[in-house]
């Protein structure tokens, strides 16, 4: 068969049900194969949209997301999603077209060194040099993308090779001698961790996206509740532990709760599970958690002791390790549950003193925090929520309580504006029966708004709620706080008219301005068939608090 038909067979063998992409000259043969392949293809309007849709699909379903692009500009357009998937460990495979082999290196039309450009930002990549390599490369790409610490894999296929005749047999004997992720976790270390947790008087569990990637939320909850361990999650980990819950401290980090950050600051033992001590978590590194010892559980050995030296390092899959940790903890004798009483008193004190509060308006004006609470109420807390990047993202993380994993889909590591809408599209394709909501800013929505056409055409009924303050709000906030209110290019003005724009794209447009009817209005939007874009007018100059200023320590939190 043609190599491109073999590609389709590979995808089917890997269980791929949908591909997001856009055809072009260098992947014409591949697109010809789609005609008969029986694999769903969602035609996006921009390759970046396709890449983020693949990420949204992967994050919502836990399966590998797949995006196709042509050579040159097609490939460079998916670089941002590739980096995004690398930073947030999203299992994804990107298959790019390349110019014919005899043109490679000659600056041919739509030629770019895709492998070279993406090399620093992929988990792995393959440049196909013979058509016979194609099936194995694709199967290996899926294996690498989904195993170990998940991530993006690029397969770059020259157009002439993709037309070659090859014989295809599914590759089942994948053996990569240089890639053997350690998933079990060292039993002695796990036992040591159990003992340390049993001895700690001021313990905190700090969980991240690794718990969600490993499908270990249940195990996390079981471990946390096997004693009364306080739990905080990173932005990427929200939903790994059910919020609200009596042991839930809220998110930690730059815009986390004071309780979570103060608890980290005063803890004597921090058990980090599937997180990586990012600078948005630690603040000033030298003053981070000064009294704590660290247990660090991660599938990626390079994350352990990268920034914070671990006292008990455990390399393994979070689910395997937590399962063993629960067992080891139960076997311990002489554990005194009352040892954390004083700690809990202190935590309750912070929770009472520093709830996530804001001053509500006294008229019809919608405060952004109110908008998030209204959305939580209107969706019954039951939606898959994607977000863009900025103030709205932080308010969503603070005020929408995620009780289950894979409900909160956002761009954490890279902070990609324009992620939300295509990610929602991908999530909705993966979870057709779920309510999928995209929370966007008026700035970020415009970075991939063309995907509204994809939603309308393919009847993908995402509900987009734009928190419209007419600003690049987070940048405005930083200029206000750290640049003496010298506002530089953050005022977005009053265009476009999102209601008209939605209609032009074939979606339903709505505009909400009244706090009193907001919840009911939102319910009406959610009940509307097809894609909906809601322009929610909120307070223009509201800041996201609380906040650890960049480079400061947790105890210096403001707001």
């Amino acid at each position: 068969m043609r190599a491109v038909d073999a590609i389709m067979e590979c995808l089917k063998a890997e269980g791929v049900e949908v591909v997001f992409g856009l055809p072009g000259g260098a992947n014409l043969p591949t697109y010809d194969a789609f005609v008969d392949a029986g694999i769903r293809h969602v035609l996006v309007r921009h390759e970046a949209g396709g890449g983020h849709a693949a990420e949204g699909y992967a994050k919502a379903t836990g399966r590998v997301g797949v995006a196709f692009a042509t050579s040159g500009p097609g490939a460079t357009n998916i670089v941002t999603p590739i980096v995004d998937a690398m930073m947030d460990s999203v299992p994804t495979v990107f298959i790019t077209g390349q110019v014919r082999t005899d043109l490679i290196g000659t600056d041919g039309f739509q030629e770019t060194d895709t492998l070279g450009i993406t090399m620093p930002v992929v988990k792995h990549s393959f440049q196909i040099r013979s058509p016979l390599e194609i099936p194995r490369a694709i199967h290996e790409a899926f294996h690498i993308a989904r195993s170990g610490r998940p991530g993006p894999v690029v397969v770059d296929i020259p157009v002439d090779l993709s037309r070659a005749e090859i014989s295809y047999a599914p590759v089942t004997d994948i053996h990569l001698p240089g890639y053997q992720p350690n998933t079990d976790g060292n039993t002695k270390q796990i036992r040591q961790a159990a003992k340390a947790m049993a001895s700690a008087r001021r313990p905190v569990i700090y969980a991240g996206g690794g718990v969600i990637n490993a499908n270990a939320s249940q195990e996390l909850t079981e471990f946390a509740t096997s004693d009364r361990f306080p739990v905080t999650c990173t932005l990427m980990g929200l939903g790994a532990f059910p919020a609200p819950h009596p042991q839930w401290l809220g998110m930690l980090g730059m815009h986390g709760t004071r309780t979570a950050n103060y608890a980290m600051d005063e803890a004597d033992l921090i058990c980090c599970i599937g997180a990586r001590f990012d600078d948005r978590i630690t603040g000033k590194l030298s003053e981070f958690a000064p009294h704590a010892k660290f247990i660090h559980i991660d599938i990626d050995p390079a994350e352990i002791s990268k920034t914070i030296p671990a006292h008990i390092p455990i390399v393994g899959d979070c689910r395997n390790v937590l399962t063993k940790l629960i067992k080891e903890y139960r076997l311990l004798e002489g554990v005194d549950p009352s040892r954390t009483d004083e700690w809990w008193q202190k935590i309750r004190g912070w929770q009472d003193k520093y709830p996530l509060a804001y001053t509500d308006s006294t008229d019809a004006e919608i405060k952004p925090q109110f908008m998030m609470q209204a959305l939580y109420e209107a969706t019954g807390g039951d939606a898959i929520v994607t977000s863009d990047v900025g103030q709205h993202q932080m308010w969503a993380a603070q005020h929408y309580h995620f009780s289950e994993p894979r409900r909160w889909i956002n761009s954490g590591g890279l902070g990609t504006m324009g992620f939300g809408l295509p990610a929602a599209l991908g999530a909705q394709v993966g979870c057709p029966d779920a309510t999928v909501v995209c929370i966007a800013g008026d700035g970020s929505i415009q970075m991939n708004i063309q995907e509204l056409a994809t939603c309308a055409e393919d009847k993908i009924p995402v509900k987009v709620f734009i928190m419209n303050n007419g600003y690049l709000g987070m940048v405005r906030q930083w200029q206000e706080l750290f640049w003496d209110k010298r506002y530089s290019h953050v005022d977005m003005g009053s265009y476009p008219d999102f209601v008209k724009l939605a209609e032009a794209y074939g979606a339903t447009g709505m505009r909400f301005t009244d706090k009193a009817t907001l919840v009911d209005d939102m319910k009406a939007a959610l009940a509307t068939d097809g894609p909906v874009v809601v322009d929610v007018r909120v307070t223009r100059e509201e800041n996201t608090y609380p906040m650890i200023a960049p480079g400061q320590a947790a105890r210096e939190m403001v707001g």
């Binding site: 090399m119 620093p120 002695k188 390092p313």
Partner: protein
Amino acid sequence: MGEPGTKELLSLDELEATANAHSGRKHILSILVENKAGVLTRIAGLFARRGYNIDTLTVGPTEDEQYSRITLTFDGAMHSVDQVTKQLHKLINVLKIRDLEPADTVARELALFKVAVEGAQRAEVMQISEIFRGKVVDVTRRSVIVEITGTTDKIEAFERMVRPFGLIEMMRTGEIAISRGRGET
């Protein structure tokens, strides 16, 4: 402190961190990689983006044509060898990394020195070369080229000796290294 094998709980005070200490000395990493296109770029790129400085780097075939050997030296005072090794291990094409212990390692490099000498000075340089067990591989009326093999220290010592005569050019291969004894590197 509660040993892993016992039931006794442990005291947090006794826990010690496996810190990313900087060793402060030169490290020679011997890296076995798949002999595939782009592997060297992946390694060099990793060093560049993580901000690690490579002092020397050599690549060559091994006894098995499927694999190549990269010998790389860097300063352990500037970077944690632990972190460098772990990051290298994340590359799919990297099979094995050895941080070679200086005492258990034979390390050599080759250097070529082009020295501007004539007359009596030529004899002097040739004499020095002999002491260093070097070989004169080219002579012209106004220059000699000397080939020296040895440890980095030896080559640097020779350089100090001949520089005053007028060193036109020096070329060095960078070190290759192999572990002593019967076992594989």
